[in-house]
Symmetry: C2
Subunit: 123 residues, 2 copies
């Protein structure tokens, strides 16, 4: 894949699994809430996102599985906090895109002669 072209090989599977953890608005809200407070108990999160406790627990399970969130047991509560280390593969990919990106919309794009100098952009 990219192995021969890039010194830092990015595993598509790892990136995708972290991105999947971020791919739901409720989970993004949970992360934003954890950002706004240095550690939260589950009940606060349930109040915040406005979903059923079992649903929030499932979202937290997904976030924990991805490594983005870790829980610290403080019986009877569990304190959740963010672990930025899990973001590294995704962050690397994003920075690669942004590093190369600014020109990619303007530069000739293909091995086809004059490609990118004309033609409509589709979205």
């Amino acid at each position: 894949m990219l192995d021969r072209n890039t010194s830092t090989t990015i595993e598509a599977g790892r990136v995708a699994s972290v991105a999947k953890a971020l791919a739901h608005p409720a989970r993004v809200r949970i992360i934003e809430f954890l950002l706004s407070r240095p550690g939260c108990i589950g009940g606060d999160i349930v109040d915040e996102v406005g979903l059923a406790q079992s649903t929030v627990s499932e979202h937290l399970r997904i976030l924990k599985a991805s490594g983005l969130v870790v829980g610290t047991i403080e019986r009877p509560r569990i304190c959740y906090s963010l672990d930025p280390g899990a973001l590294v593969p995704l962050h690397m990919l994003i920075e690669l895109i942004e590093a190369r990106g600014p020109d990619s919309a303007d530069a000739p794009c293909c091995h086809v002669p004059a490609c990118g100098t004309s033609g409509d952009i589709i979205r």
Copy 2:
């Protein structure tokens, strides 16, 4: 939600939709392939990811819908390239997490006395 606590309001929906575009290994591979070449035609991408042409076309549609990828019509081909602008909301969230992150695993986390100073970490 976070509006009162953060100067830069991040819309959970926008972040989630970009993350969803990255939440599949085949789409990550497509992006890596676009990174490794300054613009590619669809057929090359089909060869690269090893899926059926219709499946790759669907993944490209998802990437285009998220704004991550734009296509330039060069009949009969279409040249695809990356548009890093779409990553901004996601990148902002990631940088917020990493800016706050390093301490969050060690620091006392809750409003519960002594929370975070003991207790097992669960994942």
